[in-house]
């Protein structure tokens, strides 16, 4: 039952094949059994079973919501009231959030059971989950490899059958890249689709939440619950949220798909390229027409991102001062020592590096050459995408330059790690909806296919992904060591 989609689980909960308590207990047992994967920072056994019991009672009383009884996990970047919320950092090792993130409260209101909080790169800064203070997460497909990051715990938990689905956040690819490496489905919607209230900030003009699931149908279901205006986040869009599930089967006949040729340049692993090229046939069979598009400024995505993201992070992370919450150094000699030592001891190396770079690029005399230039390039990248969307309906390409790499392989090479997000970052800079779905294997490791849609048009990429999944079974493949029903 651990690999049933949410749609199937809801069906089984309605029929009474199993209860939410049974399903939740099943996942809790599996989490213990596969603890070595290190997917979770906190497992909420007691409160999850209590919520499952309430879900079963609500269903019996005829009061079921759209997700009643479905056990989900939250990336540990979402504040959960009274529950430790660490953002993968020692800085927040003792932070019991005093409120719920909007994403958390919306999913709870829809009936979902929160089973735990998943591991992640520290403050979402990383592409391998190796910067977490709580240790690396192992990829369930090959435990010598990384699950991707920063939502690596969420991706690995879904892939290992340790929850029905999980939430993630994506600032430069942090939902899509781990989804690709773990063989699951993940969507980052349009910037502003989902409220950022209670989502610990990394780079506020790029951060966006989204669901990580087994199928595009489940992603549509969860996105519908998570999205929508929120008075608590002034950047959250007031746009109507369509019924994403209803439009999943809208025929792809005549859909114009553009191939991002720039994504197939040097650096893409041959096996991954083959998988992506072969997927085109499936879309053609479904009636879509394929053409090539060029995004001339895409090569400047990584440089622009590594100015904008650290700059915004340096401002966002200035709140951690050891005074009001979180880590405080032992026996500070004076106020300056309290600030400096709390921050230097509480933050890990990658976080400190990015704070330093960000503060430098924002400092007097450098702002125009760095931050302003990056924001101008950002508009050129957006304009490239808008020119492409005048010709085609959705864009297609790889999610990552190669399948999951080995633990430790890139930790000593900062730039090699940054280049992992080469195909995903442009979607964040432009603020476009983008998703990754499993499309095949290279050397026995899952390969993710990326679909990018126009603003607020999550429905088109979800429909394309869903119908691809009706014709293929890549999304149903599971790691052999995780398949047993116990």
């Amino acid at each position: 039952m651990q690999y049933d989609s949410i749609a199937q689980q809801l069906d089984n909960l309605i029929r009474g094949t199993y209860s939410s308590v049974e399903l939740t207990r099943h996942y809790l047992d599996r989490i213990k059994q596969h603890a070595q994967l290190n997917c979770y920072i906190s497992v909420l056994e007691e409160s999850a079973l209590e919520a499952a019991q309430q879900a079963d009672q609500a269903r019996a009383a005829g009061n079921a919501g759209p997700l009643t009884g479905v056990p989900i996990a939250h990336k540990d970047i979402f504040c959960t009231q009274g529950v430790k919320t660490t953002a993968g950092s020692q800085m927040l090792y003792n932070y019991d959030a005093p409120f719920d993130a909007t994403v958390v409260s919306r999913l709870a209101t829809a009936g979902a059971v929160t089973i735990g909080k998943t591991n992640m790169d520290e403050f979402a800064m990383g592409s391998s989950n190796e910067t977490s203070y709580y240790g690396a997460v192992l990829n369930p497909w090959d435990t010598t490899r990384v699950p991707g990051g920063s939502s690596g715990g969420s991706a690995a938990a879904v892939a290992a059958g340790l929850c029905s689905a999980a939430t993630g956040t994506d600032t430069g690819g942090s939902i899509r890249q781990p989804a690709a490496h773990c063989g699951i489905t993940g969507i980052k919607p349009t910037y502003g689709r989902i409220s950022r209230w209670g989502m610990i900030a990394f780079a506020s003009s790029l951060d966006q939440a989204g669901p990580m699931t087994r199928t595009a149908e489940d992603a549509a279901l969860l996105l519908g619950v998570m999205a929508g205006e929120d008075p608590l986040d002034s950047t959250c869009l007031a746009a109507d949220v369509p019924n994403y599930v209803e439009s999943l089967n809208k025929p792809l006949d005549g859909l114009k798909i553009g191939i991002c040729e720039d994504f197939f340049a040097e650096g893409l692993e041959a096996g991954s390229e083959q998988v992506i090229r072969e997927s085109l046939r499936v879309f053609e069979d479904l009636g879509a027409t394929i053409s090539s598009v060029r995004l001339p400024h895409i090569e400047y995505s990584i440089p622009a991102y590594y100015v904008i993201a650290p700059a915004e992070a340096s401002a966002n992370l200035s709140r951690y001062d050891g005074v009001r919450f979180g880590y405080r150094c032992k026996e500070p000699t004076d106020l300056a020592d309290l600030f400096k030592r709390s921050r230097s001891e509480g933050f890990g190396d990658e976080v400190k590096r990015r704070i330093m770079v960000g503060a430098f690029t924002l400092s007097t005399g450098y702002y125009d050459a760095y931050y302003r230039q990056a924001q101008q390039i950002r508009r050129l990248i957006k304009d490239d995408f808008q020119a492409a969307f005048a010709e085609v309906d959705i864009l297609l390409g790889p999610t990552a330059p190669q399948p999951a790499f080995s633990l430790g392989e890139k930790t000593g090479d900062q730039v090699a790690m940054y280049l992992q997000d080469i195909y995903t970052i442009a979607g964040n800079l432009a603020g476009l909806p983008a998703m990754s779905i499993p499309a095949g294997f290279s050397s026995d490791l899952p390969v993710g296919l990326q679909l990018i849609g126009n603003y607020l048009d999550e429905a088109s990429i979800l429909a394309a992904a869903h119908q691809f999944q009706q014709r293929t079974d890549w999304h149903q493949r599971v790691p052999a060591s995780m398949a047993a029903e116990n």
Binding site: T190, P332, Q375, G431
Partner: protein, 95 residues
């Protein structure tokens, strides 16, 4: 652009971070590496391009000027490292 120890020390002061002498060299090298990566940006002619801070060029909406939050001090201070009489405690600043 090469980041010198002097620059690292200045930025460390601005960001309230402290590094040992060994760490200074390491962080300087790492900053230099990142700045070399972003240097490619300077090849792009951006004259006349409006900087983009929001993908949909959305502006911040104003909300009615009414009180929406009650007094949550006790709740927020429950997770503070040290408080006294509803105040956050820090080491003595004025002798």
């Amino acid at each position: 652009m090469k980041i010198t120890d002097k620059v690292v020390k200045n930025i460390a002061e601005l960001t309230q971070l402290r590094f040992t002498e060994d760490e200074l060299a390491e962080i300087g090298a790492s900053m230099t590496e990142t700045l070399e990566l972003v240097e490619q940006m300077q090849q792009v002619d951006t004259a006349g391009v409006e900087p983009m801070s929001n993908p949909l060029d959305a502006t911040q909406p104003l909300r009615p000027d009414v009180v929406t939050e009650g007094d949550n001090r006790a709740i927020y201070q429950r997770i503070a490292p040290e408080t006294q009489d509803g105040l956050y405690l820090v080491p003595k600043v004025i002798e």
